[in-house]
């Protein structure tokens, strides 16, 4: 019984180390191959569309609702204190610094990351990746690099959309329901926001994009078994991306808090 438990723990720890090591190896290889010719634009643009354009509706919708919710929840507290003026600044700062980046990253991880794992996983199961290798095409160069580049470039752009739409959601509630004038709202919003708020928020998303790309590609490459394996890998990919995104967000928040006080 105890032996079993220790073996189980050891196995889990070992698999964690394998996971970290594998992700890092994949990341290093992808970084190296990004700057190595030949450069193919077509797959990159295709992935950009999948990550950016196609995710925009759902990201906008979620960001809008988050803005509305944040304004209402803040109003609930602020109206007791009689300081409705601060709703605008709270909404702006929390969306631009934190909620915009993380909501975008989570939505994209669920939407795009899962798709990448499923796609690469079924390619792996049907031995298309082995076929690529026999054609002397590096699967990392051919499959991972465009996805990694597309995710780390498109995620900040998507975050900008999410920030703007979230602030718009807060504006809609404050102007129509809480009788704060439109000019007042925009003035307080942009008076409170600092450049560092915007740029630390955007800098995080580049790393979130990398996390999504590497975790989902790693899980896709590691599929074992048939269709069942693809399903398991997809689940692992989403769960691991979520955990890593939130853990790294915690790290970055602490980092920026102490670096740019």
């Amino acid at each position: 019984m105890i032996k079993k438990a220790i073996l189980f723990l050891g196995k889990k720890t070992a698999s964690f180390f394998y996971f970290t090591g594998g992700i890092n190896k994949l990341a290093l290889e992808a970084f190296y191959l990004t700057f190595k010719p030949p450069f193919k634009e077509k797959p990159f643009i295709e992935q950009c569309r999948k990550v950016g354009v196609d995710s925009l509706p759902i990201v906008s919708m979620v960001a809008f609702f988050i803005g509305v919710i944040l304004a209402l929840q803040t109003a609930y507290q602020m109206q007791r204190l009689g300081s409705e003026m601060y709703i605008a600044s709270i909404v702006a700062v929390s969306i631009v610094r934190e909620l915009g980046p993380i909501i975008t990253a989570l939505v994209v991880a669920g939407r795009v990351g899962a798709a990448i794992t499923a796609e690469l996983g079924s390619m792996n199961v049907t031995e298309q990746i082995d076929a690529l290798e026999t054609l002397a095409a590096n699967p990392v160069k051919y499959l991972v690099v465009p996805r990694f580049l597309a995710l780390s470039i498109m995620l900040p752009l998507l975050t900008l959309y999410a920030d703007a739409i979230g602030i718009f959601g807060g504006w809609l509630i404050c102007v129509n329901k809480l009788s704060i004038s439109s000019g007042m709202y925009t003035h307080i919003t942009f008076n409170t926001l600092l450049f560092k708020d915007l740029f630390t928020g955007l800098a995080k998303t580049v790393f979130f994009g990398m996390i999504i790309a590497f975790v989902s590609c790693y899980e896709g490459f590691n599929v074992q078994g048939g269709a069942e394996g693809v399903g398991r890998a997809t689940r692992h990919s989403v769960v691991n991306s979520f955990i890593l995104i939130i853990a790294f967000d915690c790290f970055f928040t602490a980092f920026f808090y102490f670096i740019f006080p």
Binding site: R49, G52, L160, Y161, A164, T186, L193
Partner: protein
């Protein structure tokens, strides 16, 4: 390979363009409220600044007009003293008279510190950009406490003296002599009320008519 032909590229271009527009709008809107180009610097020299911090607001006649951007030490050889130079960024269009009063004020008792400027009346001379002005030193909380303590101590001594019957008020409170005299006077007047109407011959009241 051809570029810029497919619908896909059109959509992507639109997406990126709008993203860049949003970024520019954010930067311009944030920058508009904080643009450094439309401000000028005024140095306020203090002996004591009571813990003011960089970023603290500057108020001119009660309106926020700028913020503290720099805190430096400055040795003044004439006075043989190290002073604090507080660099404030003030909005360009604001003219501060040279005889304005400047000091470090506090919002509430323990609130945020800020620089208060009460405009003077000398509208012929303004503080030029990068000019200096001497600030009035704020009173440290310790000094206020010390002063209150001194007052309390002195008051306690006085009270002790009064209790011991020293001094005029002490004797008024604790010495019965005056009370007895008054009692005698009242009883005397009760007995001989006509004494009140008695006019002394030897003392003429006044020489006037």
């Amino acid at each position: 390979m051809e570029f810029g032909k497919t619908k896909l590229e059109f959509k992507l271009g639109l997406f990126v363009l709008f993203g860049i527009i949003i970024l520019t709008a954010f930067i311009l809107l944030i920058g508009d409220f904080k643009s450094l180009g439309v401000r000028y610097k005024v140095n306020c020299v203090f002996n004591f600044v009571n813990g003011i911090k960089i970023g603290a607001p500057v108020r001119f006649a009660g309106v926020d007009v700028g913020e503290v951007k720099a805190l430096d030490f400055m040795f003044i050889p004439e006075e043989n003293k190290t002073k604090i130079k507080v660099g404030c960024l003030i909005e360009r269009q604001l003219k501060i008279p040279a005889d304005s009063k400047i000091w470090v004020n506090t919002l509430g008792l323990l609130g945020e510190k800020y620089i208060e400027i009460i405009p003077g009346s000398d509208y012929a001379n303004f503080i030029p950009p990068n000019g200096s002005i001497a600030g009035k030193d704020p009173v440290a909380m310790e000094e206020v406490g010390e002063m209150a303590r001194n007052i309390a101590l002195e008051f306690r001594d006085t009270l002790a003296k009064i209790k011991n019957g020293e001094g005029t008020i002490g004797r008024l409170f604790y010495d019965d002599a005056l009370y007895k005299e008054l009692e005698d006077l009242v009883s005397d007047i009760k007995l001989h009320p006509w004494k009140l109407f008695f006019k002394g011959k030897e003392k003429p009241v006044s020489k006037s008519k």
